[in-house]
């Protein structure tokens, strides 16, 4: 499988709206959904006058319509390192917490008290029949869930520094003009919330990082050339014909390498170490760790999950077996941290709204265990590349197995 690394730089405000049922205000997303990038590229291809849509086959069909269509992941806010390269952006899991009074990553510029993960400690505490109630490592105060995007960059001392990444938004007001009276038209005053084109009063550019994954190497090369040939002609989101949504999009092809096995080993190493630490409060009668290997699924984007035709926010063991094509009756789901929301959208090809979908929010965490990890490794690698649930080519259901942030414990809050 080939992966195209997309770097998107906002040149004008981006109106990437999210309309929820019952609401009249369209809020701006804090990222660029994969469906928006997919739609923009498809629309750009179809605008060419020499395109013949009546003939089947071709690159368009392989990119967007076939069973193994390209997967457009969401583009999340990122930043450049000191060399000018874009940093890989990561998503905090739902189990991450930070101080209620001084939330955020520790840094020299702020007095934040740090962010840490609670998944392994909560699992160990409950396994030892104890209540788990984390508090802030700096002042012992209350902690709250802390979400969002972050990047990791080594500082001068070689220590990894964690930085929260977010976009800035503002509200634009527009009014329609009555052609006869040359004054404001009734009922055409509206506000658009937009992602600002710069951050921190123009000192930093607004950058997004995303990927396109596809099987065909030749097609990946052609798509990369197509994107780079018109890198400043891309428009994303709404009101694109009247000044908004102008971006600079560049593509860089790269091979997909998977380190799922290493991450699972690291996760289990820390889990066993932590379990022994909790043994000081008394060993449990039945150890949950006996002959079992653990792994997590961390949702990197919203997912549309269905269990027997009904929407759900839980990936059960049976669902995962079916999704991965693995027959494992011993697979067990130990913990679920998930919430839900609604998503709509616009399909330019239909000229109609997409159906309102109940989605499981990004950041959701599912903890599984199995005594047969070997047969799961290739399946988990495949799931990481293709995603879970429905509409995965639009960026829904992207997962990461055993996210590294689960091994950031309270005493080493970042």
């Amino acid at each position: 499988m080939k992966e195209i690394q997309l770097t998107i730089k906002a040149l004008s405000p981006l109106a990437i709206g999210t309309r929820k049922p019952g609401g009249s205000v369209s809020e701006a997303h804090d990222h660029i959904p994969g469906s928006v990038i997919r739609g923009a590229i498809a629309a750009q291809i179809l605008q060419y006058p020499d395109v013949d849509q009546t003939q089947p086959g071709g690159d368009f069909q392989r990119l967007f319509l076939e069973q193994g269509a390209a997967i457009f992941s969401n583009a999340y806010p990122s930043a450049r390192n000191r060399k000018g390269d874009i940093l890989p952006v990561r998503l905090l899991p739902a189990t991450a917490v930070s101080s209620k009074s001084n939330p955020g990553f520790c840094s020299s510029q702020s007095d934040s008290y740090g962010v840490f993960d609670t998944l392994i400690d909560r699992f160990c505490a409950e396994g030892h029949d104890h209540l788990y109630d984390p508090n802030c490592p700096r002042d012992g105060g209350r902690v709250e869930p802390y979400g969002g995007f972050y990047t990791v960059e080594d500082d001068d001392d070689g220590k990894p520094r964690y930085h929260s990444q977010k976009v800035e938004a503002r509200l634009l007001t527009r009014v329609g003009i009555n052609r006869r009276r040359a004054t404001a038209q009734e009922n055409i005053l509206y506000g658009i919330e937009v992602i600002s084109e710069t951050r921190k009063k123009g000192q930093e550019e607004t950058l997004f990082s995303g990927t396109i994954r596809l099987e065909d190497e030749v097609l990946a090369s052609a798509l990369t050339d197509f994107i780079n040939a018109q890198f400043q002609n891309w428009r994303l989101g709404g009101s694109a014909s009247r000044g908004l949504g102008k971006v600079e999009m560049t593509a860089q092809p790269q091979d997909v390498t998977s380190d799922v096995e290493d991450r699972i080993q690291q996760f289990n190493h820390h889990l066993h170490k932590r379990w022994k630490l909790w043994d000081v409060f008394g060993k449990p009668q039945n150890s949950l760790l006996d002959n079992r290997q653990f792994f997590t699924l961390d949702l990197q984007s919203d997912a549309i999950l269905t269990d027997r035709w009904r929407r759900t926010t839980v990936i059960s063991a049976a669902m995962l077996c079916q999704e991965a094509g693995v027959a494992d009756p011993d697979l067990q789901l130990h913990a679920t941290y998930s919430s839900y929301d609604y998503r709509a959208g616009w399909n330019a090809a239909w000229g109609l709204m997409k159906d309102m979908e109940l989605v499981t929010n990004r950041g959701a965490v599912y903890l599984f265990s199995t005594p047969h990890l070997d047969q799961w490794l290739p399946a988990l690698e495949r799931l990481e590349q293709r995603g879970v649930g429905e509409r995965t080519p639009e960026g829904f259901g992207q997962i990461r197995v055993c996210d590294e942030f689960h091994t950031i414990f309270r005493e080493e809050a970042k």
Binding site: S12, P13, I45, Q47, Y48, P49, D50, V51, D52, Q53, Q55, P56, G57, G58, D59, F60, Q61, E168, R170, L171, L172, T173, R174, V175, G176, I177, N178, R179, Q185, I188, L189, G191, S196, E197, T198, R199, K201, G202, Q203, L219, A222, L223, D225, F226, A229, Q230, N233, R235, S239, A240, S241, R242, G243, L244, K246, A348, G351
Partner: protein
């Protein structure tokens, strides 16, 4: 069948610069900034701009005037209920048969409507001068009571404008999509020459400008095609 490698770049791009001869006053409700009653709109980094939505709206207005004068049927924007294709379906004058049959007027085919994407893309016109180098200009005004010929109560107001008489250039582009009809560039170019000012208080001397338009090669047949609108 679509082959990515065979697609040729055919989008037309026209560089456009508006040189402000007086002072510009483009404000919007909800804008943040100084304590003026009508603050000027800015980018996130503080640079001044003329929003693309204003330029596109004004271009559409001028194009509608020209098209009507040439005898073309034109729908009534900006209300969706009185625009194509709602009003064009029962009116044979609105039907276009170039390529697929459509029911959109000449203007909607360029500027779009709620059912048809725009084939003209307008950039924000951005002032390249650093906002820190530009002084903040507040223009006071007061309404005069017509009967007493003295200041009206509660009618003192302040407008924020760009600096006066410094020939500030606002730079951007117009993009014509590959499927844009051939007469679009001719009509838009003619419309640009009918826009002597932008923004608020034009009748009070604000927003007057001079256009510097990049090279456009317009085929004579495009001009000819505009003439067949049954003008008397």
């Amino acid at each position: 069948m679509v082959q990515l490698s065979s697609l040729s770049q055919v989008q037309t791009e026209i560089p456009l610069t508006a040189v402000i001869d007086s002072a510009l006053c483009v404000g919007a409700g909800g804008s943040t900034g100084p304590w003026a009653d009508k603050p000027i709109v800015r980018l996130a980094d503080g640079r001044l701009l003329i929003p693309g939505s204003q330029l596109k709206g004004r271009l559409r207005h001028e194009c509608e005037k020209l098209a009507r004068a040439l005898g073309w049927p034109v729908c009534e924007s900006p209300v969706a209920e009185t625009m194509c294709p709602q009003i064009g379906r029962d009116n044979s004058e609105f039907q276009r048969t170039a390529g697929e049959p459509q029911h959109h007027c000449l203007i909607c085919q360029i500027f779009g409507n709620p059912a048809l994407p725009s084939r003209l893309i307008v950039d924000d016109l951005i002032c390249l001068e650093n906002s820190k180098d530009l002084p903040e200009v507040l223009r006071p005004g007061v309404t005069i009571n017509r009967r007493r010929r003295t200041a009206e109560d509660q009618k003192l107001y302040f407008l924020e404008t760009s600096p006066v008489n410094v020939q500030l250039p606002f730079v951007g582009h117009l993009y014509f999509q590959p499927d844009c009809p051939p007469y679009a560039r001719a009509l838009v170019l003619a419309a640009l020459h009918h826009i002597p000012a932008l923004g608020g208080s034009k009748s009070a001397g604000l927003g007057w400008l001079t256009w510097q338009i990049g090279d456009i090669d317009i085929d004579q047949s495009a001009w000819e095609s505009l003439k067949v609108g049954n003008a008397p």
